[in-house]
Symmetry: D4
Subunit: 164 residues, 8 copies
């Protein structure tokens, strides 16, 4: 796919089944990406290095997923000038997901994280594509087409329901 | 400032004191913006019309703030192909802000809203600038400088504390 | 059943197993209804059109069910002059149902949604019938009979318990 | 105003400042009403009597407001065949309003309460008028006009904001 | 067992598996009891009648269990002069039990309900026995013995753990 | 007043303004009581000693109030065979009272605490009197009279409201 | 292993599967420990005795796990001068773990409990070792090596992901 | 005071009024400390550098306070081998403190943070002293004396209450 524009990182390989949905969405929308495991808590230096250099490597958007006391999205946003999308993952010992959501969402003034719904990696992929579409209008056309597809799928379900 | 790239909308004029912080931040970072009151619940047709046409008018990012059962960001995201940043506002009859946060954050698959912290309009402004920086590298330089400024401010406070 | 008086809509076909309970209840109470899938987020124009015209088609009450950041009941209530009953559905990625409940219940002043319990579609059906009974006293009689039935069912269970 | 169609009751005179907003709204929309203090916990027999006879006196809708462990709306709904609108009031020792909301909203199957937002008595008034409009089309016209008024007020605020 | 001193009631037969634990505990502690289904919402008149007459029949303590918007304990406490113990039951559509807990616990000043833990019917049985022990010292002896039994059970488990 | 039958204890003198309401209520209902500060965390031995001996001194009911991680009611209930009423106090650093409520209410099987509402010391007083009334019928008469008084107060407020 | 430096206690044998993770971690880091069941609610005297004497027996750190209204960590911390680590356990009737967390964490000023995550016994073990490392530098070396191991495990997973 | 053994850091100077209580406590217990502002989000490199070197400078315990999405304690714990005490601070835009608490407490396995109560900096100071006491028995004596002081203060309050 050429130079990756979006970098998808996650704190643990247990987040993979959720975070892959961001990758699928980016593939569907024709946006090139890379994917890696980077843990703020277990590989802090790798995380630091990743965040410092991502924009120099041509990355335009970072998607970071993590669960529990989820510090990865916020720490990457602290270091990188790029827009960072945070995906709260409902991990096994999470308190119903509240910890993941609040530790990603409630960033202090100065350091935003664009937070999506709990386990909302699919939406993180779409949002990253929307951000890329600011400079690549062909992606915007794909987003418009994708939205039309959503609408048509609902209409088909509606027809089915009425037939019953 | 020329053509507005960011459109800041809010559900009620009572959200203005919070949402103005997005405008200030955009001004500081040199991103042109417009600001209006658009209510999903009281002016649904204006909202519809706004969301349908924003990208045709040259808008690249929408920032939408609302409180309580906050439907404005999600509805605009449903209609517009642009990236939408949602600002949960802690309004007077809100249940501690939980209603604003959850009704903006928990969007279904297919329709993302980039949610920031409760009353986090300042971060919405920075995030919008980060998105614009995807096509305008001069904005990225300003974001890097802004981050340096945050760092220096902390260092000054640190020096003051040590002097005491 | 002739002209539908109640329109049951839901945001997704995954809400159907819950929302069918509203239909069953209306059938039991002899109130005519229609049922469709209308998504605020994926088919916003259909939603708009539906809400604008429902009262012109003879609909008297709308029951709208949705989960997560559930905007369907509130948006329909924003557009239609009819009484709107909202059913918070506990969908798969919901945060324990809190998101559905709060984004339906906490409507701003001016735009009410008559909210029932989480997954409370059965009660939405009864409430719609109670509203119709304002002009059709035969429905009120059925509601009074239904309540008597509830009472008798409890009394039978009470007898069984005492026999053990 | 002639025969009251809506009965507004509340558990305590401390709920009056909230519940008066239902009365104002009904007055504005031309719906006749009565107002009384009826406590499920302190005057259970009066409550019982009220709920048993309201529909025989010509009442069509009951609005019941209460705070804390708020049993008034649900108990009246258990006894009366009329539609009951519940207003959760944020009373002084309430746990942030959660107790009022949950003890009104989460009614079991068979006994609905049409719940509005915390302290949402204004919306209870509008909802009651919407219910009455099922048999009195002049009220529906007033609701349509009221919605137009909401829209115009937002538009005026929007103009003011742009002038600044 | 002679005259029942404790009356165990519950809102639905679905609460029986929880509420039986109160009965077992009372049996173990030698306190006579009766058990019935009494629903505040579906059999309000039976509930009223029950609460009005319980103390005249020789009942000394009432244990009432219910789930969701749980009004049974509070309503019985409103009508009866007896001490009422409330058991919040985590029913199927409950929001994680919070609704049951708050609608039983947060009673207004003047009408107490002695609330025990979520699904804590066993403790309700012990508490009822403790109340009866105010006039029957033989029950107090049994409670002291029961506590000794708890202690010995822990000590046995402790021995087992150390042997491993 | 002779031998105290009820002992009111609290974890800190900052709980006094709340806990005094239990004392007032007992005075009004003619039940003798004593009051002291006993901290589970700061005076564990005094607490232990208190709990061990209360029933030997003729105390029949213990009311214990505490805030935050409130261990006093549960620890006293662990040691004493008497019925223990717990009053969750909303202290200054409490998280909205949730900590006080949950750490008093959620006792494990075997060790009940009769929990009343947040800051509900008044109800703790009434509940203690209801427990004493099991052996002293004159107290029950006072409770019946007290309930009548509550009813009359509501009726007076109702009259006032109607006069306006 | 010689004299135990860390004492792991838990309120019930049902906490054992969680609390064993603290033991495994201490074994891995070469810190000697003991393990026992001590219930604040069912064996208050044993708990008292344990807490009073632990430091005299050479114990340096106490790890205490409990669920629901979890009083064990706080009560031990009230009595012992040693640092106490609290592990909130998500027990069967817990309200999603909130009760365990809040009743361990929210200790009043003067009596700290070092609280770890819900079911976080593994971290309790590491924390205890970190505390012991204050006087035993060989343990610190093991902790540094353990952290390196965490990092290497993530790097291996990262390599695997890239190979796919 | 000689070589600092405890380092108190905080994310912002707005946390100072809370965090000073840790310093006061350490002073009272005779433990040397240093204090600085180190922000994970605004000075990530300083934070990194601080955490990497603290143990080499002779620091034995780190106390870190932060509010909102509070990443400072967890990130320092990720990098440093020292025991880290986290103080959740209830900052101005915090959602009632839940965000601070959960983002500090819910650390993943491998990286503990010893969390104290919301705004519990005083207890963080005591806990740090308890940890230092593992190698310095004179500090343990001071802690024992401090606990005695707490007890005496309660006893004095108890005497005062009885005199009234």
């Amino acid at each position: 796919m050429g130079q990756a524009l979006v970098s998808i990182i996650m704190g643990s390989d247990s987040d993979l089944s959720v975070m892959e949905q961001a990758a699928s969405m980016l593939k569907e929308l024709g946006v090139s990406y890379e994917m890696d495991i980077v843990s703020a808590h277990r590989t802090p230096e790798k995380m630091f290095d990743f965040a410092k250099k991502a924009h120099e490597r041509g990355i335009e958007v970072i998607i970071a997923g993590a669960g529990g006391a989820a510090h990865l999205p916020g720490m990457v946003a602290a270091i990188s000038p790029l827009p960072v999308i945070g995906v709260p993952v409902k991990s096994s010992n999470s308190i119903d997901g509240w910890d993941s959501v609040l530790s990603i969402l409630q960033m202090p003034g100065g350091v935003p994280v664009a937070t999506v719904a709990l386990n909302g990696a699919k939406n993180a992929g779409i949002l990253a594509a929307q951000i890329i579409s600011v400079k690549d209008r062909s992606i915007r056309e794909k987003i418009i087409a994708y939205k039309k597809g959503l609408q048509e799928a609902v209409n088909r379900k509606s027809e089915e329901l009425k037939r019953c």
